[in-house]
Symmetry: D5
Subunit: 96 residues, 10 copies
Amino acid sequence: MEFLVHIEVNWPPDGDPDERRRLAEAEMARGKELAQAGLMKRLWRIPGRWANWGLWEAPDATALHDAVASLPLWPWMTVEVHPVAVHPNDPPGYMS
Amino acid sequence: MEFLVHIEVNWPPDGDPDERRRLAEAEMARGKELAQAGLMKRLWRIPGRWANWGLWEAPDATALHDAVASLPLWPWMTVEVHPVAVHPNDPPGYMS
Amino acid sequence: MEFLVHIEVNWPPDGDPDERRRLAEAEMARGKELAQAGLMKRLWRIPGRWANWGLWEAPDATALHDAVASLPLWPWMTVEVHPVAVHPNDPPGYMS
Amino acid sequence: MEFLVHIEVNWPPDGDPDERRRLAEAEMARGKELAQAGLMKRLWRIPGRWANWGLWEAPDATALHDAVASLPLWPWMTVEVHPVAVHPNDPPGYMS
Amino acid sequence: MEFLVHIEVNWPPDGDPDERRRLAEAEMARGKELAQAGLMKRLWRIPGRWANWGLWEAPDATALHDAVASLPLWPWMTVEVHPVAVHPNDPPGYMS
Amino acid sequence: MEFLVHIEVNWPPDGDPDERRRLAEAEMARGKELAQAGLMKRLWRIPGRWANWGLWEAPDATALHDAVASLPLWPWMTVEVHPVAVHPNDPPGYMS
Amino acid sequence: MEFLVHIEVNWPPDGDPDERRRLAEAEMARGKELAQAGLMKRLWRIPGRWANWGLWEAPDATALHDAVASLPLWPWMTVEVHPVAVHPNDPPGYMS
Amino acid sequence: MEFLVHIEVNWPPDGDPDERRRLAEAEMARGKELAQAGLMKRLWRIPGRWANWGLWEAPDATALHDAVASLPLWPWMTVEVHPVAVHPNDPPGYMS
Amino acid sequence: MEFLVHIEVNWPPDGDPDERRRLAEAEMARGKELAQAGLMKRLWRIPGRWANWGLWEAPDATALHDAVASLPLWPWMTVEVHPVAVHPNDPPGYMS
Amino acid sequence: MEFLVHIEVNWPPDGDPDERRRLAEAEMARGKELAQAGLMKRLWRIPGRWANWGLWEAPDATALHDAVASLPLWPWMTVEVHPVAVHPNDPPGYMS
């Protein structure tokens, strides 16, 4: 099942730049693992913000939660999950 | 450039079922054209509603508007466009 | 997977009382089928409104959509779906 | 009388991990007591967040308040209480 | 148990004045019955609007719903119910 | 003139417990004075929150402000004042 | 006591122009009466809308309601009343 | 003085197409007059909607209102006016 | 041109009382200057809050910004400016 | 492609005035570079706030993000990007 996930990162402006760099690197590394596991399929930056929209796939909301909450920046995140259903007009369904 | 587009269809509960059927068919046909033109890439139903999230791609907001406004159900739609930027952690960027 | 579903019924104050009665009966009949199929597990009325909260269970958002949209009053409904995950402190998980 | 209760935990990202662990354990212990007393009947995690939806039962809002406010994490919580009424189509009412 | 109830009446500006008069009279009559039954204890007009705040008392949300939904103008109402708990500083609790 | 007043207390989770106790006692004492002066007539706790709804009476908004702002916890409060008008169906108006 | 009152007029785009003209004239006439009675002190148009902000003065919310509800366009209005208190820095208080 | 103006056109989906065409033409003609008078300086379509953002210039809010309300589609519009002030970093101020 | 200005002061509950006193005095002094310059014409306290509504007059939004931003408490303020237009029914326009 | 960009600067009231001065100067310098590169075309102050509306132009949302995020005050900003499409009635399109 797919989910559209909206994530804002609430990093304090006066946060430690070293910790920020370290976390951002760990975030990218963990993101790659989630991508290789097929959980995170797409990620788009929301222009002007430290925020993103992602297309995730997981068996259910429990597995999705575990994946999102495993991100190193999770304690600083505000996350909104939009469950999505299959649409009969979804292009991959009839284009091949 | 990609866009996440949120569409609600405000069809009146007592609308004419024949017109609804005709419009839904025309919608699917036009949707296929937009998919084949590479404008509409994904479409997800929002569960419980006559509404969808779509992933669209267009050179700019003007071309996107023309594509969305060409849908037969457009006069009944409430549309919100979210422009998205490339994210360095987007899986297709490093998985191959 | 469980979902909390919020439903408002937007029936016009001057709607036909006969159609309303007929639809309410069909609604109850369809609701029983969904309950027997294990899709609708609980239903609570929101006091003061023609509205309810429901606990639904379905394999995914697509099956949930099909169940909700099969309700006879669906064209008059505004539906919001909240996906929920298993909580380690959920009482049925440790009470027996 | 049943209540649907929405709880967000606003724990600071730089909060003390030891206190967090201690509080989470106390929370689970207190939750079990409330479950055994029949006050907390179901608990669902909201995916992506430190938050939950719960189904609670109490004689009235005063007893409900006392139960919720007895949770060790209560000072960090934002709580919204939705009172719910019996629905004639509630499955447990006619399935046996 | 007490409830604070917010009611807006959405009467169409071009509604039939005779029906409006008839409904307003029936509303007052039914209101008196609910007051005498101890269900409706106070009613305040929201200045500038066809709307009110009320203090209601009922054994639970189900009984409250039945009372509110028995009002002749109910089909035109938008109702929001706020459950309230006993406060230790409530003046009637210590003034006598 | 009566007012419905909504008060949230934004006390920090890590606030000093001694100051909190001292303030809560002072709050109750000041509340009693306001009740005896006829300014605060009812007070209800909002379940699950450190918040209340109150029924206040004052000659005008200026006197109401002075009363509310005299509460010891006022610097931590978010207050919303709803002015209310006499309703012809208010039970005390015709029950005696 | 003074009130800031926000009024939107929800006149249907296809409403009868003659009725609109007649109502607007009656509105102005009634407005003058309210001004001469000292109830309506200032009126500002909200640019771009059929809407206004007004400064009203009345003994209490009940008298204010009666004044606003006496406007011929009242059935088409959405009204929000903001009670205001005397401010120690209010210029008329110290300028003379 | 400049204003950013947000306009939504609420044309009914089943509105008369001839009237719509006639109004759209009159709208463009009136728009040109306002542009030539220096009142409307820029106009951007909001993608996916019958809506626009405009940059207007007028001596004050009264003149702006008269300009906007002179548009033939005004009865169908929802308009929000954002007054803007000169910014010291505004490019035209230092580029020449 | 007149403006209705809504100001909230976000002073921290544990802020230094001496600085608060000093700022409040400076605020009143600066307010008097703005009043004498004809920029601030009325000021109303919002009951229950450290907040006010003001009626300001300035040649344009730039001059208004300079006036508001000159207030000593400005760094702690959240300000919303509502531009207002002359209304044909404004009492001072026809009462003399 | 053009974008309307809304920026709020959340500078703490007790922030270091020297850092603020240094950042504001760096902001102006960086703004000039973005203007000369044709990315930032207009900038308007939102009266009463440390906030602005800007008209930006960039090939796509990715380039826009890079430009906005290069501003020295970006860590303190809340940014909302509104993509805009070409409007057939845009004055520069037919005035020359």
